[in-house]
Amino acid sequence: MENFSDIGKYLRIPCKKITNKNKSEFHSAVVNAIAEKLRTNQRNFLPIIVKEIDEEEYEVLLNAHILEAAKKAKLDFVWCIMADEERGKQIEIESKQRFEINLLNASEETIAEMFDYIKSVHTGFSQVNPKEVAKEIVKNRSNKWKSFHPITKLRCKIGRKKLDILDKFFCLQS
């Protein structure tokens, strides 16, 4: 009779109580295809991951496309798993939405590998040489780095505009 928390539970929640903050546009073909299936089964099996933002108000952390499809299929409820701030961060990593490679102590090889991955998913990085940028970062990095700004000074074809993207892959923890 001790634990009344909803965290980690598989729960049925009204669609209208869930908001999708990052209004990333899903292709209508994707949403329609899922909606068609949900209309037949009247429920989703792959849970939407949500967190509580206020009492009885939730926000999508993962699988927003299912919420969109459920709304399209006019379902009143969707099945969700309740997460919190801490679990939300790990879920972002597990679902490849975020990585937390620490630029201040990660090996040159790890950093190079990650830049290689970034190149494969972000077209803006095509001019970047992963091995070269990793080498420069390891050579110049210091505990005084409070942002990714010093990277723009390393002459590795990474300018200020690209720093926001790096935020999803790296962190600075001295």
Partner: protein, 456 residues
């Protein structure tokens, strides 16, 4: 007048402000803010003059208020020390009307008047405040004594607003012990029946998957399969009207006849085994897996609570989700018990451990208006044989260690009770003149109609 100005007025008070000044500079403005016309020092009964009385639209007393002058010593205390300091202080004792003080008239006396007692009482001195509710004979503190601060003042106003606007919420009672076979269901049915015969509007809800209550009042559980889900779905979607409609569809009005002339009605929220079992499951993927489940029944009942004077909840002896929900919903808990030391141990544990835990969990739900529920009303010996002097002393010694209210009226085991069940009626309706019916009437009067202040 708005809440910020009110807080500012409080800041500007002198720490030793006299009662008259406190009321002129501050308390009067509370009623302005709430939009109530008030009457300063009216007589509510010969010799009884609260500092304020607020009236409802029909001119019946709604709130009586007792104020005292400020006290810097109390204001200096924090947290639990503050509560203890108040409890020992004469201003606080006088304000609530501690009977041990001579010639004292406080909230207890004002709420105990025979003709038209107010529904709520407030004590206030600029440093402490506490709200009370009157339910027939019971005087129930709605909060612990609170310290007045810039943070708690808006809460006081919010609570006053809530209670003054919803003065007729039915009092929700759970009859529970972790031990089975102590007549939970029979007691629930018969106390509810006595109250209904006294003219009270009563609802009984069956949240025990065994559905004995539903059957013993002549209903067929299978007719109500999954109807609870319709209610819960509308509740979750915040559809107030629809929730009420679904609940009214589920609730059955049963008529019971006594002799040729007596007709009494009890509303029943029937239970259905599989429906309640599914609700009770804490995991899995049935449709009853909802957020904030422990408060679901409380939230559900809030839509119909104003239609009743009393709502009784019957649950299984297991501490399952339905029991948790019922305790979250309950305002008062009656613990039925026999003389068995294990049953008594469970009863005492509920009193000192389970109920305080539920209370602290309720505190954390900010959408619920602050209250100090549920409170243990007392322990009733039921389904008992005559216990004899020796056992009586043993039980008395055991219970003396715990501050638990024990009802004087004891319920004995009679054939009439069982016979009535065959007729699908409460025994108080089936054999109104039987000994057990007299005991139920006496017990109901003792529980709900003798003036009593509930203490924690």
């Amino acid at each position: 007048m708005n809440i910020e100005t009110l807080v500012e007025k409080w800041f500007n008070l002198n720490p030793k402000e006299s009662e008259a000044n406190l009321n002129a500079k501050f308390t009067n403005h509370i009623w302005d803010l709430l939009g109530y016309h008030f009457n300063v020092t009216p007589n509510i009964s010969p010799g009884m003059k609260p500092d304020y009385v607020l009236f409802d639209e029909n001119n019946f007393p709604l709130l009586v208020v007792e104020t005292k002058k400020r006290n810097p010593e109390l204001a200096a205390q924090e947290g639990i020390n503050f509560i203890e300091a108040c409890e020992q202080h004469n201003y606080y004792k006088q304000a609530w009307g501690c009977p041990s003080l001579p010639n004292n008239n406080g909230i207890f006396q004002y709420l105990s008047v025979i003709d038209n007692p107010a529904k709520y009482g407030l004590i206030f001195n600029g440093d402490f405040w506490q709200l009370f509710r009157k339910v027939d004979g019971l005087i129930v503190p709605l909060t612990e004594v609170q310290k007045v601060t810039a943070e708690t003042l808006p809460r006081l106003i919010k609570q006053l607003q809530h209670y003054l606007q919803n003065p007729n919420k039915g009092f929700i009672v759970s009859m529970w012990n972790r031990k089975g076979g102590v007549s939970k269901t029979t007691n629930t049915i018969n106390i509810a029946a006595v109250l209904s015969a006294m003219g009270k509007k009563v609802l009984i809800a069956d949240f025990d998957p065994q559905t004995d209550l539903t059957r013993s009042l002549g209903l067929i559980p299978e007719k109500y399969t999954n109807k609870l889900l319709n209610c819960l779905d509308s509740l979750q979607k915040d559809e107030a009207e629809e929730t009420k409609i679904q609940l009214q569809d589920l609730i059955q009005k049963q008529q019971f006849d006594i002799g040729k002339t007596g007709k009494y009605f009890i509303d029943i929220l029937p239970g259905h085994k599989e429906t309640l079992e599914k609700f009770s499951e804490n995991e899995g993927d049935n449709a009853y897996q909802m957020t904030n489940k422990p408060t679901a029944i409380k939230r559900l009942l809030s839509y119909i609570a104003q239609d009743y004077d009393y709502i009784f909840l019957d649950t299984s002896p297991k501490a399952d989700m339905l029991t948790v929900c019922s305790l979250f919903a309950a305002d008062g808990v009656i613990i039925p018990s026999d003389y068995d030391p294990e049953t008594l141990r469970h009863a005492c544990h509920i009193n000192i451990d389970t109920i305080p835990k539920i209370r602290s969990q309720r505190d954390q739900k900010k959408s619920l208006i602050d209250d100090n529920y549920p409170r243990v009303l007392g322990l009733v010996f039921s389904n008992c044989p005559d216990m004899g002097v020796k056992l009586k002393k043993q039980v008395k010694d055991y219970l003396a260690k715990f501050s638990l209210n024990i009802y004087q009226t004891e319920l004995r085991h009679y054939q009439a009770t069982v016979l009535a069940k065959f007729h699908r009626k409460p025994v108080v309706f089936h054999s109104p003149k039987s000994e057990i019916s007299k005991q139920y009437i006496a017990l109901t009067k003792e529980i709900f109609f003798s003036n009593r202040l509930l203490t924690a």
